[in-house]
């Protein structure tokens, strides 16, 4: 509790130093505004440089051809990388989406107990695992067991990265559905699983789609786990048990090459990747995020 003397002191302090206090206030406001500018400058620079350096390389051939021999005149394109990224997104979603949605259903509908709380906690922990560790794990359990780098291993690693994001967003969207919807379903004598699948999931559709898009945008830019799993390749799809290329991986490999033409292609690939990721994020924001306020569990993250 503040005593009367303290209060008097407060009042005196506030009354006596008005001009210096106002100056401090102005200075702090200036600093705070400077912080915002400091964050916007790198973002602007990144976007401008990616467009400026990447745009000249874009062509039909760049999108469709296999990469040419390193350092030669035949530049080729990043066709396999685009194919690989799309395939990885599709394949990881095959595991990540159903398991994640079911996990979210469990947490929201059956998870109000000790086990549910534990899973929720571990799900949040898994969401923050360094993805390089998940790559190492997929390498040990799939690549080492099957004997070579493969698309399957990449899919497995990325599906693990998707899972917590989808589980979390599904749970959150289901919880936003009013209890009355559930009650109305039960009142009609509808079984719980039908209530969940036909009523709740339909009502929470936009939240579910947001979650899936967030997860896809995340794994689309994921690089570290791919080093250990799909390895990279300069050919189009040859088999699920074969190495494959992906956009982020290709950007990394190109950036390490000592040729200006390769680096230019790296910028081109970066432009393609950033367009995919940002259009997913922006589209989602305008479609869904704005409507439901800023839920803590719907947050954009980028691949690492």
């Amino acid at each position: 509790m503040i005593t009367i003397e303290q209060r008097a002191e407060f009042r005196k302090h506030f009354r006596n130093n008005i001009s210096s206090r106002l100056i401090t206030d102005k200075i702090v406001k200036g600093i705070v505004f400077g912080c915002v500018v400091l964050a916007i400058v790198p973002l602007t620079s990144i976007l401008l440089e990616v467009v400026r350096n990447g745009a000249p390389t874009l062509s039909i051939a760049f999108f469709t051809q296999e990469p040419g021999a390193v350092g030669s005149n035949q530049l080729g394109g990043i066709g396999p990388a685009i194919q690989g990224t799309l395939m990885l997104i599709g394949m990881s979603s095959l595991i990540g989406v159903p398991v994640g949605v079911m996990g979210g259903i469990f947490l929201s509908e059956y998870g109000n107990n000790k086990y549910g709380h534990m899973i929720r906690f571990f799900n949040d922990v898994l969401a923050e695992f360094p993805t390089i560790v998940i790559g190492l794990f997929a390498f040990i359990v799939i690549v080492l067991v099957l004997g070579n780098f493969s698309l399957i291993a990449g899919m497995f690693a990325l599906s693990i990265i998707m899972l917590p994001i989808i589980t979390r967003t599904t749970e959150e969207s289901l919880k936003l559905v009013p209890v009355t919807y559930r009650e109305a379903g039960y009142a009609l004598g509808i079984k719980r699983w039908v209530v969940v699948t036909r009523i709740l999931l339909t009502s929470a559709k936009s939240g579910l789609i947001t979650g899936i898009m967030l997860a896809v945008a995340r794994i689309g830019g994921e690089t570290a786990p791919l080093i250990f799993t799909i390895l990279g390749s300069s050919q189009f799809f040859t088999g699920f048990d074969q190495p494959m290329d992906a956009l982020p991986l290709r950007i990394w490999r190109l950036s390490l090459l000592p040729y200006n033409s390769s680096i230019a292609q790296g910028w081109g690939a970066a432009l393609v990747l950033i367009l995919i990721v940002l259009s997913l994020n922006i589209g989602m924001r305008y479609l869904f995020l704005g409507k439901r306020g800023r839920g803590g569990r719907f947050r954009i993250t980028a691949g690492r």
Partner: protein, 323 residues
């Protein structure tokens, strides 16, 4: 009528089956975590067997057969130094941004601003790396490192060395940029969760905006802000690609962070860099898996602490929050 009968869901067994399926999906998450921990422990067993505790404390790194020696200390130090520096730069800026967004910004600016910060969060790590490697590095080298190095290089130990641009300094700054969106968005939510009555009480005393922030918002949201910062730390510790591309990739004792302008190595970057050279079954691979295990333990510990701090503040507001 037929439609309704169908909708009712048939035998009660389906209900049980559905619940079990949901429980299996949830358990899958737990199983994956346990399996990851188990595989990393068993995969790195050879290195613990050979090096013992000196794997944590040693600094030698030689993969030549017969003279193999592995010590992870320089990389553990590198991770903490880069992440720590990133926090030093990133946390004040993030808190500033959060303060601007929750207290100062006019209404019409708030939503575009949070959109911009979100874009910063959406840029993949490898693109930060590319930008850092070919664009940012030159600015840092020519405008900051060379002048500082020329003036203080001989006198101040942490500014010594020939500035090259690919070093701990550049890495830390890029890491700081990468953790700003995480910390500032969560901090903003935490500040918004501070009841307005707190602010009004301070205004009533005649406080300025800054004083309101200092007197009412900060004390109320302190633990949440610390949690948000620690969450940012966790992100910086696990960051791989940008670091791998920018840190200069030193190995062995020279990788110990001795100067800001010296190349270094972090736990994640050494795994990414050396992985291609480590053959299956070799001690080299076990050493890298061992470093992965240390990284995982560090990341989990950081995260649990952050989780507890942040969720306690936001629980009443909107449930547990994660980036």
């Amino acid at each position: 009528m037929i439609q309704t009968v169908k909708l009712k869901g048939g035998s009660p067994i389906f209900d049980k089956v559905f619940k079990v399926m949901a429980a299996i999906a949830a358990t899958y998450i737990l199983a994956i975590i346990i399996l990851i921990a188990f595989q990393l422990i068993s995969g790195s067993y050879p290195i613990w067997d050979k090096e013992g505790i000196s794997f944590l404390t040693g600094s030698g790194w030689n993969a030549v057969e017969g003279r193999e020696v592995y010590g992870a200390a320089p990389y553990i130090a590198g991770t903490f130094v880069t992440a720590g520096l990133a926090m030093l730069i990133g946390v004040p800026i993030s808190i500033g941004i959060a303060m601007f967004m929750s207290e100062l910004a006019p209404k019409f600016l708030r939503s575009p601003l949070s959109f911009v910060i979100e874009l910063l969060a959406a840029v993949p790590s490898v693109i930060y790396g590319l930008w850092g490697l070919f664009i940012f590095r030159d600015y840092i080298k020519n405008w900051i490192e060379i002048p500082l190095g020329n003036t203080f290089g001989n006198k101040v130990w942490f500014l010594s060395g020939a500035p090259f641009g690919l070093d701990i300094f550049t890495t830390s700054i890029v890491l700081a940029i990468m953790i700003i969106p995480t910390i500032s968005t969560i901090s903003r939510e935490i500040m918004i969760a501070v009841p307005n009555s707190q602010r009004e009480a301070a205004y009533m005393l005649g406080a300025t905006k800054w004083e309101v922030f200092k007197m009412a918002v900060i004390p109320y949201s302190k633990s949440g802000l610390i949690g948000a910062s620690i969450l940012g730390l966790g992100r910086a510790v696990g960051e791989t690609m940008a670091v791998t591309m920018l840190i200069g990739n030193a190995t062995g004792p020279s990788a110990f962070p001795s100067s800001l302008f010296a190349p270094g190595q972090t736990m994640s970057s050494i795994i990414a860099n050396e992985f291609a050279e480590a053959s299956p079954g070799s001690l080299h691979l076990a050493a890298l898996v061992g470093i992965g295990l240390i990284l995982l333990i560090v990341a989990i510990a950081i995260n649990i602490v952050a989780q507890l701090l942040v969720s306690r503040v936001l629980k009443a507001h909107e449930g547990a929050v994660l980036a």
